[in-house]
Symmetry: C2
Subunit: 212 residues, 2 copies
Amino acid sequence: MSVPAVIPFKPKNPKTRLSCVLEPEEREKFATMMLCDVVVAAREGGCDPFILATEPFSFGETPVQFDERGLNEALNDLLSRTSGPLLIIMADVPLTSPEAVRRLTTTLADMAIAPGRGGGTNAVYLSHADRFRVSYYGASFQKHMMIAEERKLSYEVIDSFLIHTDIDEKEDLVELLIHGKGLSSRYLKELGFTVSVNHGRVDAVRNRPSSS
Amino acid sequence: MSVPAVIPFKPKNPKTRLSCVLEPEEREKFATMMLCDVVVAAREGGCDPFILATEPFSFGETPVQFDERGLNEALNDLLSRTSGPLLIIMADVPLTSPEAVRRLTTTLADMAIAPGRGGGTNAVYLSHADRFRVSYYGASFQKHMMIAEERKLSYEVIDSFLIHTDIDEKEDLVELLIHGKGLSSRYLKELGFTVSVNHGRVDAVRNRPSSS
């Protein structure tokens, strides 16, 4: 039986911290490509992905639920109505591999959690979704640990840099260029991004075609 | 049989990019604490750790080899003299767990590699050390992949954020404060570092005792 996997997604004006290197339409396309990479990894990892979108949105054959409320409210409402297992995975972790997804969903604990950069939470697998509630934003990893302890849920921390690497800022793009195998890294390369090494520092730089 | 694990270490003036938050003596002590965490993880992960130091240095019962040459030269000389297995792991990955070490050393490939942030290489396990040579600095992950391909070595990429998280800059300290369980995170806390959440951003801040 496939585990349902919910991927929250904001279709309009996403990834504003990438505005310094991507035009608005490019950001929207890039966010959609990352979403696609996550959908593919979830499906190949044995899940049934669906999207929880803040606005009406369609995404090929992948089901979309529309909920205009904030992330925590929308997810906690979903959790309260879900008695079985559920994977929650963010849309901006395009390096996620099917193997990493399986490490989450095959945990023997009540919950498996994959931390994100800077204290965040990038994926949570719940064997009984309605026993948990989420609290994203800020240091959500620590908040989720506390909620699990309050609710006497056993948990496992999944040690995955592929899920840990959320793509928020220019500095994160180099990880995608180096380790990415999906649509979003291909799109970055099409846009002219390459890996540049300068005085030992490795950065993503964009070579825009000259207009001459 | 234990796998030998070499940990390169620079005892004098280490981690200069942490100068903004740590005094010189604190940096030396912090670097030594991180080294200790790596030694413990390697040992608990079934390895026999030893230190390759750029200067004469002693570290309790852990053997130390002194080699004043650069990192690549010293390691490649060691590799050329090592016909069996060897794990190379950096001294600044204090989150490393025994499980992550075992994922490296139990690979079925000729080589297992754990990438570091920004295109680096934080750990390499070699089943036959003398068949490989290292090339650190810059985008070493990609260089090591190319060397493995040139030498027809099969490889596995180890998906571990605990090894991926090298502690170089102030921004990295928050990861250690949140996920660390060893001596180095305890030392940071003793120095007054805490996790601070400001407008959704999670940072490590240092509260220095007031001198009044």
